[in-house]
Symmetry: C2
Subunit: 202 residues, 2 copies
DNA sequence: TCCTGATTTGACCAACTGGTCAAAGTCACG
DNA sequence: CGTGACTTTGACCAGTTGGTCAAATCAGGA
């Protein structure tokens, strides 16, 4: 484990390579299913070398989760209380859908963690996540009270956006099995737009 | 491994206990995360005793998945081409939501399997599942063509029902972290009804 | 070029895990 | 109540896995 002086060029490169490989393996196999050897070979390093950069398998996992949570909440943070309500919401939906398309591994890593009961990020869920959602729900409720979007249960509205969009990353295999050759992401944005427009237009 | 004559009283009891325990453990930890010892102690039996009834850990998992897929598709099978379109669809949504409430372990077992790329049930997805969905999509398309429900992409419509309803089982921890004390299932049915009524009313 | 700290690795270990097996115990029925 | 089939288990094994360590190698500034 290198000293705590500024990271060297090699440290930066290897740490990044390890996290990249770890993301591949953890998102595909889950925490217990992943082995340090797998991650090592995926990263092109030896196992002891990995453990020189991260003190344990769990440390790699934690590093990924930590980085993830922020990224994951960004699209919601961008929801602007000053904007046009319906457009803001539709924008949020599309941003979230894009994340499923562009970062499916991150989505699956997160899904794996939640499925197992979120042992490592439960605190973050009840604190940062809940706080952010509560804040944005207040905005939504305001819009509904003003009649600018149709009234619906605001928490379930947000859950619905999460589940619908993440479904295309997390259940990718199933979606593709049913759809055959067709690309889900070609038609999904349009469906989402229709759905939320009809649901929320006052 | 008992002979293939009709199962004895003890066999029935123990096999059921094992599958029940295995469902608990697999759904909470995933296949790789679960250990035979865990399942054994949960079932109140010794490990060699488990392996007397099932030849391997994988056999227990397979037995669960096999039983699951049928149950899982039942709500969709019940969708009746002769019924009143909107009511049929709303009924399907509510049945699926009830399954998430009443069988969260099964939902998580399924989610785990799909997340890992469905290694064990991929064939079933592209065959039975796809066939059933294709059939029901034809029914939906018919209703849309007749103007009896609003036109939307029928496959995405079905995906949306799956993801929305299963979300409450698979992401239970997250939902409860955000909602606090409140019971998600108290308000979810009403939200779903509103959503699909607005989406599908012509 | 030399030196010091950073990096890499082969060999190894202890714990865990899925699975085996022979022997012991139990059940049900003639 | 005896007997053959069914059930249970303690002891064990081999493969895997996370992690350690001392020794070897490398990078770059003086």
């Amino acid at each position: 484990m290198p000293a705590d002086r500024p990271p060297t060029r090699i440290q930066k490169k290897n740490r990044a390579a390890i996290l990249e490989a770890a993301l591949n393996v953890f998102s595909a196999q889950g925490f217990r299913g992943a082995t340090v050897d797998q991650i090592a070979s995926e990263a092109g390093l030896s196992k002891p070398n990995l453990l020189y950069y991260f003190p344990s398998k769990e440390a790699m996992h934690n590093a990924l989760l930590e980085r993830l949570l922020d990224t994951w909440l960004d699209p919601l943070r961008e929801l602007d209380a000053q904007g046009e309500p319906l457009e803001e919401l539709l924008g949020y939906v599309q941003r979230k859908l894009q994340m499923s398309r562009d970062y499916p591994r991150e989505s699956r890593l997160f899904a794996n963690e939640i499925l197992q009961g979120a042992p490592r990020i439960h605190a973050a869920l009840t604190q940062e996540l809940k706080a952010l959602v509560d804040e944005k729900v207040a905005v939504l409720q305001g819009w509904m009270d003003q009649g600018r979007i149709a009234p619906v249960h605001p928490y379930h509205l947000i859950f619905s956006i999460w589940s619908l969009t993440q479904h295309y990353a997390d259940f990718d295999v199933q979606v593709r099995a049913v759809l055959g050759e067709k690309d889900p992401f070609a038609t999904a944005p349009d469906f989402m737009e229709t759905l939320y427009r009809r649901l929320l237009t006052p």
